[in-house]
Symmetry: C2
Subunit: 257 residues, 2 copies
DNA sequence: CGGAACCTTGAGGACGGTCAAAACAGGTGG
DNA sequence: CCACCTGTTTTGACCGTCCTCAAGGTTCCG
């Protein structure tokens, strides 16, 4: 996991989906922030917490967002990669309806709320870019509802792997045609509405069918086209390509160089 | 379904979660818009469509948002009640990753994008209120992921009914301690990741246990406290009460007068 | 070297799905 | 006002995907 101390790639991601000129980007880059390191497994946010006075941007590492039922069953509702901004919602809502926990050691930049609010007030292009980021979040939630509600275990896992491949590609953390997915099989189950036992069997089956290769938590995708079909994965919902709604290009493998 | 020609109650809902002064409200009320009537079952938006040049606000009636898998399985990802603003996302994203279909005859107000964009640029309080509305949407999606991923059929249906009761209460369309839920059992299944057959059996079981009463598509909740417990329903995620994060009041029945 | 967390595998069970048919409701047109 | 048609609800029988429980292996880290 390389160290990525600046916000450059975050700004580039925003600019991908919403127009930002040099001045806008400079304004974001100039936001006061403090870097912080967070240990794997520790909580960034707990359900019911009052909102923090800052937003955390993931510089490196991964985190996940989850909710619990009364009986203590856990559902992971989102997985976050570098350049994800955790909780701009806390700018506006008073408390959290979910928990966020570090999946790996995490480098985050805590951006002060009042500075961010000021920037949003003064700079509509920045406000829009952040708003759009949240809209894409929503789109991902919708796809997860579909994934969990209407696909079988094989498709769900395949879909999860496809999404992570594409998003990690966008974040620039794909190495050597493989990606490191720092999740236990239990966590993958919590993300897909399955049990760890069934995730285990499903992963083995995907490997046996020659769709993926696992070594530890490194995932290689041997046959992108097949796994895309099995997972019924169409990356349009990630809105990574604002220019071409229906482009075939978006179906290409995230492992192509 | 009473006719509700103005945007007053929409504005009131926004003001519930985000501060708006008289001038802000007047500015929203002055937005140019055209009223339109939409027949039940017709599409407002189709997946893959390029964004419209307007946002539709539901004045009366209900609609749902859905996505399809490759094999044609349908998942309803959201149900919309009066005062819901459909697709502020289209202000910023170029195409739709879902379809929206009318559940009943619908009265909507189409608000012109350019006028709305201008208002957002000029008036930060309005921008914020709309942003917050989208954040609550996200919170609902998260809860649905949990509902579908980690609750059994009985809880899922109970949860759906609780959510609809509370949201319809907020929209002011509860009559006589009952609410009209214009969904077929197949649609309820599509919303909860179940089949219509199982929804039927589950509803019968809830009725038999004395939790609800059904007459046609009118749902009466006989025992709010029990169904809330069965559905593991805690309305905090709806962020209806910004003042009191942990208030017990939020657990009260939406049928109390 | 030891322990904890995680992965793997097996056997059995259950929740919810599938398929199919019948009852019912509501609207339309004769 | 009845006859019809279509969409919806209801019920039954059977089945399969995924869960549960449990034990043994493996990996990783202190």
């Amino acid at each position: 996991m390389q160290s990525r101390p600046t916000m450059d790639s975050f700004i580039r991601r925003l600019a991908l989906r919403s127009p930002l000129d040099e001045a806008d980007m400079a304004a974001i880059a100039a936001l006061p922030r403090t870097k912080r390191e967070i240990k794997a497994k520790s909580y960034l946010i707990r359900e019911g917490d009052k909102s923090h006075a800052f937003c955390s941007l993931i510089l490196s590492g991964m985190a996940y967002r989850h909710k619990l039922t009364d009986q203590g069953a856990r559902q992971i509702v989102a997985i976050h990669v570098p350049d994800d901004l955790l909780d701009p919602q806390h700018l506006f809502l008073k408390f959290a309806d979910y928990s966020v926990q570090a999946l790996t050691t995490l480098e985050v930049a805590d951006i002060d709320h009042s500075a961010l609010q000021d920037l949003i007030l003064q700079n509509p292009a920045v406000a829009r870019a952040l708003w759009v980021d949240g809209l894409v979040d929503s789109a991902i939630y919708r796809e997860w509802v579909l994934n969990i509600g209407r696909r079988d275990a094989r498709s769900r896992i395949a879909h999860l792997l496809c999404e992570m491949a594409v998003r990690m590609r966008a974040a620039g953390v794909i190495e050597d045609s493989r990606f490191y997915l720092p999740m236990t099989q239990e966590q993958m189950g919590d993300a897909t509405g399955l049990t760890s036992v069934h995730v285990n069997r499903t992963l083995k089956a995907l490997t046996a069918s020659g769709l993926i290769e696992q070594t530890g938590r490194w995932i290689g995708i041997s046959d992108w086209d097949s796994i895309r079909r099995v997972g019924d994965f169409n990356p349009l919902y990630l809105h990574l390509d604002q220019s071409a709604p229906q482009s075939e290009a978006s179906l290409h493998s995230p492992f192509m160089t």
